[in-house]
Symmetry: C2
Subunit: 210 residues, 2 copies
DNA sequence: ACGACTCTTGACCATTTGATCAAGAATTAA
DNA sequence: TTAATTCTTGATCAAATGGTCAAGAGTCGT
């Protein structure tokens, strides 16, 4: 009878602590340099561990990457999931855009990590895209289509509306350098929120022009 | 007196031909794998040259990268430059969105190359961003602001409208894998164009609702 | 045909980097 | 305290990769 679990099932205090350190550091490094651009040494240095020690917790570089990537996927689904068919469409969309922008400004590295992954053909998250993500979009598109047929919102293409919300909101993280360069200053989160929300919901055209 | 030019000034037939081959191959490889992810060998193989031969035309990997990157920057400015203050705003914006989407579908690799560069902090194009790009955006923002003050379009934030057009249009190239996965099929360019244009110009809200 | 120049390549080098391993240090349950 | 287990690391390796070089092949104007 072994003194400890024969098959490891519970994490040590040190283990949880170091794994968290590693994933935090890995997010920063991977999002800044991409998968190939990042080195295990960089990550190890950033979290104050030696390279062999880091590889004691994650056998391969790719394991670190998939671990940190998976941690962000959940974050991605949550806001869209919250879209409520029974509440006011404009309120719901406003809240969705707001939540996405909050994420963008609070966790730009997470957004960049995901963007990099997709940009390079989604080699690690293809199943996520054609599985849970597609399902969720399909479901919520139905909700939006309902709003349209009830005359509560204009006749938009739901999938493309969702793409638009994704791209515009994430733009402020993924293309943050460009935004800052063009504006000449870091954008103000609140201003961005009103500008983006107003634009997506209200459009450009003067609609009441007689 | 030398038989040929002492300082090389004119390109050989073979030279122009091979440089073009290289840049085409480099665009594909860099856009697919990023700067660090791409290898000189990959590019050489793709264009049917040996690695040393390729390095005969471009001394360093970085030289290939900057060359192919520069070739795309001009492409980027043109459509926005064409925005005409004296014509109808809606027509002009429609044309701009249309031109951007044409680029997206015709040259997705160019879009991805640029996206990757910005995503990683724009190490090679920072001067372009704070120089010509910023100037152009500032100038065209004035145009848009004029349209607003003349009541020809809604009161939008010009810079953020431009960001929105950029992000939404480029999304179909940069996040193409995701778009295709979610839709279950390659998107139809014409459909995307009407959906995106209608959304950005008309918004989501039913404006005439009494 | 000839000589000068351009183009091409096999072999090679130095560095980077992901990964291993054996041995020692620290931790933990009894 | 003790012994099993977990944690840590210096040294090291093999592969990948950017880049070099000398020598030969091809091209071109005359």
């Amino acid at each position: 009878m072994p003194k400890r679990q024969a098959t490891k099932v519970q994490k040590t205090r040190i283990q949880s602590h170091n794994e968290a350190l590693i994933l935090d550091a890995a997010l920063e490094v991977f999002s800044a340099y991409g998968y190939r651009g990042a080195t295990v040494d960089q990550i190890a240095t950033k979290c104050g561990l030696s390279k062999p020690n880091l590889l004691y917790y994650f056998k391969r570089k790719e394991d670190i990457y998939t671990a940190v990537l998976e941690r962000t996927l959940a974050l991605w689904l949550a806001p869209l999931q919250a879209l409520d068919p029974d509440k006011d469409p404009i309120d719901e969309l406003t809240r969705y855009i707001s939540a996405k922008l909050d994420l963008t400004f609070a966790r730009p590295e997470a957004s960049k990590l995901f963007a990099n992954e997709i940009l390079h053909g989604a080699p690690h998250v293809a199943p996520f895209l054609i599985g849970p993500l597609k399902e969720l979009v399909t479901a919520k598109s139905k909700v939006i289509r309902n709003w349209v047929s009830q005359g509560k919102i204009r006749d938009v293409e739901p999938e493309h509306l969702i793409f638009a919300i994704w791209s515009v909101t994430q733009h402020y993280a993924d293309f943050g350098v460009q935004v800052e360069a063009v504006l000449g200053t870091k954008p103000n989160a609140a201003k961005v929120k009103t500008a983006v929300t107003d634009l997506l919901l209200g459009g450009v055209k003067v609609q009441n022009a007689k």
